[in-house]
Symmetry: C2
């Protein structure tokens, strides 16, 4: 999870892996109860049953700790190879929205993103731990759709890469904005409407059946 990859130091007392897990779990619990602003590292340490010094030995501060605590939440995302691009998009959108609905994800993620605007190292950490990690969903969905013939194959790798980035920004950004800024729920209807825009564009989007 951090710099210690496999066996950097073969000597001395090893770091407790259980402590890592307990700290991250305690961080999420504190995010739920207190939110970002009232979360203190001393409190997290108490909840996790570790000393405050132990916590500071592993993470540089609140920002880095919360990034790692939140990143774990997004690893459960997976593409539901459902047979059509529209259904794939809808499925991922609903999964993503379900995670963002959890208070520890909401308050934690946005707060570290806000801090990352003034901290390049934190920005890199977020990208590596969360963003780029989940871009695989777009890649897989795109590949499936191309195999089905729903999307044209792309040969130029540069263009393809920019397209994937754009799609990721649109999909993730829409869900994020809906959940956090507009503060309204992501329903199946909404996800369906989003998929419709992505597949057909605005003009052809005839209104969905009332419901």
């Amino acid at each position: 999870m951090q710099s210690r990859s496999s066996a950097a130091h073969a000597t001395g007392r090893p770091r407790s892996a259980a402590a890592d897990a307990a700290i991250l779990e305690a961080t999420r619990a504190a995010l739920v109860e207190l939110g970002w602003s009232k979360l203190t590292l001393g409190d997290v340490a108490t909840r996790a049953g570790v000393a405050k010094t132990t916590l500071y030995r592993r993470w540089a501060g609140k920002n880095e700790l919360v990034v790692d605590a939140v990143a774990e939440l997004f690893d459960e995302l997976e593409l539901p190879d459902s047979g059509s691009l529209a259904a794939d998009i809808e499925g991922v959108v609903l999964q993503f929205a379900a995670i963002l609905d959890r208070p520890e994800a909401k308050s934690g993620l946005m707060a570290v993103v806000a801090e990352a605007t003034r901290d390049g190292a934190l920005r890199a950490r977020i990208r590596a731990s969360i963003v780029d990690r989940q871009k695989r969903l777009v890649l897989e969905g795109r590949a499936h759709a191309q195999a089905r013939g729903e999307l044209p194959a792309e040969d130029d790798p540069g263009t393809a890469s920019r397209a994937v980035d754009l799609i990721f920004d649109v999909v993730a950004g829409a869900v994020l904005h809906r959940t956090l800024v507009s503060a309204e729920p992501v329903t199946e209807d909404w996800a369906c409407g989003l998929a419709q825009i992505l597949l057909q564009g605005l003009p052809e989007s005839a209104p969905p059946p009332p419901g």
Copy 2:
């Protein structure tokens, strides 16, 4: 800007309007230099040339203050009635991105959104001061496009309202995600690609000319 609308108290010493402006300006300056987390109300008061108590008399805390300070930034947005829906979208996207590029908007906006996940009153304040205020752009652009025949007219007001909300989430969310999460610049090419998706959908989006 706050509860005092026109003439609530005709008696006593009136509140200095200049102090309000100075405080909001000082808040933005502090956001640029220090960012959200290191911004302190005492510092803002000093910069504005007012006492800390004056500041607390008008705003409940950091959150409310920054919302008001940031909201003013977004009022300069306007729809560039450029003759086509694609160009209108591109224009608004580029304007929005230009504002989000300013550090006081970046760090301030995301931070208050993060805090708003645990504070309903703050959420309402953000909606009223920022979000709903700018939704006018979607309404205007949609009306223009319908007058041009680029978009079908919508009769059911409920469906139309949901469509406007969805479009707003997609456009604003995409720019927000691109700027703050992906942390990459919104270029003209990118805005063009976004408009293309919105108008034509993913499948027909042939790659734009290289450059």
